[in-house]
Amino acid sequence: MKFSLSWLKEHLNTDLSAEQLAEKMVTLGIEVEGLESEGEQFNHVVVGHIETRVKHEDSDKLGVCKVHVGEKEPRQIVCGAPNARDNLTVAVALDGAVLPGDFVIKPTKIRGVKSNGMICSVRELGFGEEHDGIWELETDYEVGTPLATALGLDDVVFDVSLTPNRGDALCVYGIARDLAAAGAGTLIAPKQLPVKTGQKTVDVKLEHEGCTFFTGQMIEGVENGESPAWLKKRLEQAGLRPINTLADVTNYMLMTYGQPMHAYDADKLKGNITVAPAKGGETLEGLDGNTHELAAGDIAIMDDSGVIGLAGIVGGESTSVDENTKRVFLEVAQFNRSNIAVTGQRLQCNTDARYRFERGIDRAMTVPAALLASELMVELCGGTVSGIDTFGTEKAEQTVIEFNPEKVKTFGGLDIDASEVKALLEKLGYAVTGANVMQVTVPTFAQGMENEADLVEEVLRIKGFDAVPTQLPPLPKVRVKGADKGRNADRVARRTLASLGYIECINYSFINRQKAEMFKGDESLLELSNPLDAEEMSTMRPSLIPSLLDAAVKNIARGEKEIRLGEVGKTYTEKSEVLKAAALMAGKAPKHWQGDVQTSLYDIKAHAMAMLESLGLDPEKMQIYTNEQTGFHPGRSGQLALGKNVFTTFGEVHPALMKQYGLKGNAFMFEVNLTLADTMNMKKGNLFMSPYQASERDFAFLVSEDVNAGDIINTLKGVDKDLVRSVNLFDVYNGEGVKEGFKSVALSMTLQAEDRTLKEDEINKVSEKAVAAVQKRFNAEVR
């Protein structure tokens, strides 16, 4: 909302400057977004008078002028304008002036002649396009007067923004009232006009419960036309476009007192007015230039011709006032805020009237504002008012809040006397009775005041939030435990990804539908009804993998060669939200003089296992499943699981998926279910420490190519759970010397006891058992 300082000062007696008032507004909760001095570009530009002009010795075009600018002596200024002459009133930029284009004025010499200032053209001052010569001013300005003052441009325009609870301050008078309460001046009450009952030339029937009070005034014999300069300027400063005097007065009153109103051309009205619920389907050519279709229940203003206005939102074209209007019917009424909100929102019709009704108007201001408006119309357009007709009843009862003034201290943290609390509330327009427990009557303009907390806020607001002493509360005696499901896994996963060399990225939770479809498994996807991008951001992602692949593609397009990206975030399906972590290795490491680094399935497997271990799980104890998984190479991927709980899928990205995304080479990825990991508690085995010597035995087995190495390892581990400490597979070979369809697997088994050094024959016994087990289970040959 915009308004000028001079406008504000019509309602507030104050000595404070615009800056001081703005600062006060901020502490009152009125956010000041802008403070614009109208004549700012005319700083250090004054009215001057050329006494004499003589030709410059070194130039045919230049002249040397003696110019009075209100100083003791006239200044010497060199000027090249053709119209510069003796005895001319002009605009002079003095040192320090900054003209448009950051042109700084300072004393100088022009062709050897001192020049102390600049006589300006209209264009040079940024005031218009005229540039034929210097600006010739009216002669009645006093020399030395700042140009802004001389032109009447010394006003300051405030641009304020108000929160939805401040319906009371959505007008100049309301702002003045708040400032006055905070001690920034004294409020000038509006003129009280006598109420004279009218003749109901136009009758109004109220048939909608959303309209309980309506006033009408008939003004006959008006001459409508362009508004006077002062009114146009006020509206322009407020960012409104002047239309004609009658319409301008309604807007001016809305801006001044926050009471929306509407002027009908009475000669265009057909019969009387009815305020009733719309049936639905009616249309209105609105003054906003749009055709609005009404829905059942909207508050419609109707005459015999049909709908002529949408109550509290927008008037109709068919009955609007124009330059030919002779008779005016002025409507000033009260409409229910939620009706206005619902209709306005549906029609996406944003008007100043709707804005104010939605946030609440001062219901005691309806009649006074109506009278002030008709008076101003008559003053500016002539004519006579027949009186005011009221329909329905004004809501009389006011909210009363039982208030313990101690609350200002025990809730607000500000220790002040009950008497001061009372005084502050009264300044704000509240009526207060009682002392220890007060009965506080809420003024009609205050919106949404319901309880003690609201009153505490009012007191703190006027005292200033700065007045409340800053205090750190003592630490709580009890802490909430167990509300942070998933939080630890989330943090651990992010750190682990980074420690494994991944760059953590955060992608949008909504992705392309087709990409989501691939990874949904047996579940249903969640889809947005109003996506920001119907193509690429329509569906909640069921997996982090598509996001990472997209991120890889984007980075490769930007010239990145090696991609190691990770993400931690939720995945979504119709039934659940699951927290996951995922990592992707793609592209190629740059060549290195020691030889190129090759990544493989076993790198990503190591990373997936490290992630599980970070999460407190023991991947060594898990089963490895090799069923085909979406997006993964069927022969180069696996899952780590305990029974039906699958913690991670890892492996090479499926070549078909690579192609779909336009990625080259091999890529590897894993995705871990953090929600599941977080709920799992794997017990650690007992600590094994032994001072006795460990022994190693190496074996090489020839087995069929399709035997899983992991199974051989597990077989060896199972031979003697007390003595076999570890099994290390150190070679797999299927080249020359190994028959077709077979591979040679070499392993080393470490044996150690807790209570003794193992004897040779004990070791041999376990070894023989191991060999026998592998031979039997895998049909292996010992090499």
């Binding site: 309880n451 907390a453 409340v468 002493p469 909430v480 420690s499 953590e504 949008y508 920001l532």
Partner: protein, 352 residues
């Protein structure tokens, strides 16, 4: 010169002339070995008359001692020379590029979340989590934002096509405040909890992304006041920005708090003089806050006549941008490796 003197001299000459450890060993054997020249002199002792034996024995022994010493000295010198030669031969060019090591980085949002969590945790707040896909009730109604409230329009909510299991409309949470209600329903007052996470608004321009992160704290007890809110925020901001902070609270409006306050800090870049970052106001808006509204307590099943407290919230990206000098919000979600490598942090370099 006696023959012993001569033996000593030739022996020492031989030792001095040595220039390898292998030769040294040979010479040692020829002089001091079982049949070495000096050893042989000692063997002669037995054949000498008893009265000569002592003197001669001493003389031979002195020769043996000096030659042994000379050998030792020579050996050390040769060993040192050999080591030096080895070191010289093993010299590498340390300016050659090191092996490729992938240093991973945490996203600025992640480490700012950790920093914030750590500070609030020290102030007594426990972490709480909640769903991102929500119902109207938890995101709006329970937070004192009824259906026709103007504040609903400001939220640019993303709605879902899928209804929940009870047939209710679902949406993506527009604020982390939904966790307040879930937590109040599950746990008893007094409580101090914080929730941090992703939130969504259907808005995208220079200063808005459709997804961002919020941190929110709520403290409920018997005697918590607006002054305690100020104290908590002052401490939080000073700890987070690691400097003295000038804070300003402005009356504002949030449906879930009363009184409500916007929290500004004096611009960190211009010290309040006015600059581009603070839009020449000298102030930076960093938090929203207030005393928890009675209706919100009631929605959470907490008796508003018994318990009172405060709540506050801030945008994680905003906090990150101000502290770490990131000037474009959209970069957080572009997954660009150059941005993330530059502003990301190794997991071993967390403040917490």
């Amino acid at each position: 010169m006696t023959s012993l003197d001569q033996l000593k001299q030739t022996s020492l000459d031989k030792v001095n002339a040595l220039n390898s450890l292998a030769e040294l060993e040979k010479v040692r054997v020829t002089l001091l070995g079982k049949n070495g020249e000096i050893t042989s002199e000692l063997k002669k002792l037995g054949s000498l008359p008893a009265e000569e034996r002592k003197d001669y024995g001493q003389a031979v022994n002195m020769v043996k001692v000096s030659v042994t010493e000379a050998l030792e000295t020579k050996k050390e010198a040769l060993e040192e020379a050999a080591l030096n030669a080895k070191l010289e031969a093993e010299k590498l060019d340390v300016t050659l590029p090191a092996a490729q090591l992938n240093v991973g980085k945490m996203h600025p949002v992640s480490y700012v979340i950790e920093e914030v969590e750590e500070i609030l945790s020290r102030l007594g707040f426990s972490a709480a989590t909640g769903p991102e896909v929500e119902t109207d009730f938890y995101n709006f109604t329970a937070l004192n934002i009824p259906e026709d409230h103007p504040a609903r329009q400001d939220h640019d909510t993303f709605y879902l096509k899928n209804l929940d299991s009870e047939g209710k409309r679902r949406l993506l949470r527009t604020q982390t405040s939904n966790v307040q209600i879930h937590t109040m329903q599950k746990f008893e007052a007094p409580m101090r909890v914080m929730s941090i996470g992703r939130v969504y608004r259907n808005d995208s321009d220079l200063t808005h992304t459709p997804q961002f992160h919020q941190v929110e704290g709520i403290a409920l007890d018997k005697n918590l006041t607006f002054g305690h809110l100020k104290g908590t925020l002052q401490t939080f901001l000073e700890e987070y920005f690691e400097r003295k902070i000038t804070m300003r609270l402005r009356p504002s409006y949030f449906p879930f708090t009363e009184p409500s306050a916007e929290v500004d800090i004096e611009c960190l870049f211009c010290k309040g003089e006015g600059c581009r970052v603070c839009s020449h106001t000298g102030w930076l808006e960093v938090l929203g806050s207030g005393m928890v509204h009675r209706n919100v307590l009631k929605s959470g099943g907490v008796n508003p006549d018994e318990w009172q407290g405060f709540a506050f919230g801030a945008g994680i990206e905003r906090l990150a941008m101000l502290k770490y000098g990131i000037n474009d919000l959209r970069l957080f979600y572009e997954s660009g490796i150059s941005f993330l490598s530059h502003f990301g942090k190794p997991s071993t370099n967390m403040k917490v």
